[in-house]
């Protein structure tokens, strides 16, 4: 980022230069905004470097982590649980987001506050709540245990914790998307013979694709990063955050750095793939 901003000056073509210089020096420059902002960007860049450089300097740790079946399994469990959490959110959170965006019931505020609660709670508190609800004697854990679904130290427990902390991320993003679809479009669809449900599926949903995908990405990122809430209900099977923390405490910094590096790399790749796959989604314009 810093390089691009500085590089722009040298790329200016000479005939325009005096005029552009004059323009930027006459109070139109964004420098006053960029400079404090760069502190944050700089911290993120440095944080990436302090993970990356040592790992690249001692590649044997990276090789060790990459070939460690425990690490592989932790990644598999984490990503899979993340996808399951997003799937559950898509099925339950999408209708909730739609109801919230279209309803004007006085109870809406209460529901909105409840949805936002996982956002403001310390993650340990969220973990405690999930544990109390889903433990084998818990309010939901007991009856679900009766039909063979155990949460304590089990995969479903990880998914439950992930869903809980990711609810506001998904619901709020998707709700914003629904809010952007004019209700007039649905009205017209209905005047043309579509029921409310069909108007939703054929008009509202396709026009919200981008927000739904964005909400899913946010929720997934939030879910796979969850640590505190997950370990309280399910220390095992080990998710990636648990493994990094465990290796940090027992094996040392270098080992945890290597796993962290792989995680960052995988996330970056996934984000880029996601962006590439969705670059045309929800864009309906013949001109572009």
């Amino acid at each position: 980022m810093a390089r691009t901003a500085a590089g722009r000056g040298s790329l200016m073509s000479s005939p325009e230069q005096p005029l552009r210089k004059k323009y930027w020096s006459s109070g139109n420059s964004l420098a006053a905004f960029w400079i404090p902002g760069m502190i944050l960007v700089g911290i993120i860049a440095l944080a990436l470097l302090v993970i990356t450089i040592p790992v690249l300097r001692n590649p044997e740790y990276l090789a060790g982590a990459a070939s460690d079946p425990v690490v592989f399994q932790a990644f598999f469990v984490t990503f899979l649980a993340g996808f399951c959490a997003v799937g559950i959110l898509a099925i339950t959170g999408t209708p909730l987001a739609y109801a919230l965006s279209r309803s004007d019931t006085p109870w809406k505020g209460v529901v909105e506050t409840l949805v936002d609660i996982p956002l403001v709670l310390p993650h340990t508190v969220a973990g405690l709540m999930v544990y109390l609800l889903f433990m084998s004697r818990g309010l939901l854990g007991a009856p679900l245990g009766g039909i063979g679904l155990t949460f304590e130290d089990a995969f479903p427990g990880i998914v439950a914790a992930m869903v809980f902390v990711a609810i506001p991320y998904y619901v709020n993003a998707v709700r914003e998307g629904f809010g952007r679809v004019p209700v007039q479009l649905e009205n017209v669809a209905r005047s043309l013979g579509a029921s409310r449900a069909r108007a939703f599926v054929t008009v509202t949903l396709p026009l919200t694709t981008r927000h739904i995908m964005y909400g899913a990405l946010l929720a997934w990122g939030r879910a796979i990063g969850e640590f505190a809430a997950v370990i309280m209900i399910a220390y095992f099977p080990v998710v990636i955050s648990t493994l990094i923390y465990y290796r940090f405490n027992t094996g040392g910094i270098a080992e945890s750095q290597a796993i962290a590096f792989i995680l960052i790399l995988l996330c970056l790749v996934l984000f880029f793939v996601f962006r590439f796959l969705t670059r045309r989604a929800g864009v309906y314009d013949d001109r572009s």
Binding site: P182, A189, S191, L192, S195, V203, L207, G282, D285, R287
Partner: protein, 363 residues
């Protein structure tokens, strides 16, 4: 036809109660009123998008009050046309047929026929975002017509068009309405639109119907100040009726008098409505052949308009006066003493009922 019987509706802090309205079969009815009058809400409640709290809505004799929009058989078109941006022109037009469960083959042929009869073939596979205003309007209209609705509700369908496209679109819609015998209820705030399109005009304000009639009747004989303002009476003056004589009544307005060609009982509160173009202006020293309704006063300001100049006049009461001719031919200057004159036949009267303060439903 559409019959709205005494419907009531509350939406936020706006409400209307007991509104009744008739849209005769195959008629083009234009619903007018100032912004915030509740026109769109009324249209949306007929369309079924807003629940009414009382009354009945009948479409072709069938009570649809409790039916969802998709079962009412009413086409709806918004000012921004609300085309589905994720569908092509063709898909937009086919949408209603698809929802009605028309088989794919029949759908394709119907859409094809519609596309060609409305000269939209070249746009068939385009998305709607890049269409011009006129094209969008036509697509929206064809989409609404495709399912053969019993009636069409149009919410300011011409407001978003540029002036040239507007006229041709209006003529097209009117022609389609006539050819197909469509029943249309359209919201408008434009007098020209009403003259061009309407068989009947309904004027509403503040959730009440104020007047119903042919465009000519409404615009030449408004019975309410809101209607008078819509009808283009720039001058609406409050006053009291005095003595009548020879079919004329003398009115006291401000510190002056005006004579109108109508008999009104003495002592009534009235509104005298005069179009700015019906007032003549002359220099104070020039004798006028007509002796009645000479009003002495002063030019306050002059503003150029399409057809000449609008003069702000201050006398016993303020007036807006339109005079022809461009800037170079203006004979008056602000501050100058002048005489304004209006023919008694051009003074339209609205009687204010004694019990209410706001106009109401005089003759």
């Amino acid at each position: 036809m559409i019959a709205v019987e005494e419907i009531s509706l509350t939406r936020g802090d706006f409400s209307f109660a007991g509104i009744s309205l008739q849209v005769p079969k195959s008629s083009y009815t234009v619903l007018m009123g100032p912004s915030g009058a509740g026109k769109t809400l009324l249209l949306e409640s007929i369309g079924g998008f807003l629940p009414v709290t009382g009354g009945r809505i009948l479409v072709a004799g069938r009570d649809v009050t409790m039916l969802p929009p998709e079962k009412r058989g009413i086409g709806f078109m918004y000012q921004d046309y609300s085309l589905f941006p994720h569908l092509t022109v063709e898909e937009n037009i086919a949408y209603g047929l698809k929802m009605k469960g028309i088989a794919s083959r029949e759908r394709t042929s119907t859409v094809k026929t519609l596309l060609s009869s409305f000269s939209l073939q070249t746009l068939a596979s385009r998305h709607t975002g890049s269409l011009s205003g006129g094209e969008k309007q036509r697509v929206a209209l064809v989409r609404a017509l495709a399912t053969r609705p019993t009636a069409l509700l149009l919410d300011e369908p011409f407001a978003a068009l540029d002036p040239e496209a507007r006229l041709s679109c209006m003529d097209e819609v009117k022609a389609i309405q006539k050819d197909h015998g469509l029943t249309i209820l359209q919201v408008s705030h434009d007098r020209d639109e009403a003259y061009r399109l309407a068989d009947r005009v309904v004027v509403m304000d503040n959730g009440r119907i104020l007047q119903t009639g042919t465009p000519a009747a409404i615009f030449s004989h408004p019975v309410h100040p809101t209607v008078a303002a819509l009808a283009g009476f720039e001058n609406i003056l409050k006053g009291t009726s005095g003595s009548s004589e020879g079919g004329r009544t003398r009115l006291s307005i401000g510190t002056g008098t005006i004579i109108a060609d109508r008999i009104v009982p003495a002592g009534d509160r009235i509104l005298a409505c005069i179009r700015s173009r019906d007032i003549t202006l002359a220099g104070a020293d020039i004798p006028l052949s007509e002796q009645v309704n000479r009003i002495d006063g002063q030019v306050i300001s002059m503003v150029a308009t399409d057809h000449g100049c609008q003069v702000r006049f201050a006398g016993p009461f303020p007036l807006l006066i339109d005079i022809p001719g461009d800037r170079s031919s203006w004979e008056y200057r602000p501050g100058e003493q002048v005489v304004a004159w209006v023919a008694p036949k051009d003074v339209h009267l609205i009687r204010i009922p004694k019990n209410t303060g706001d106009g109401g439903n005089a003759p």
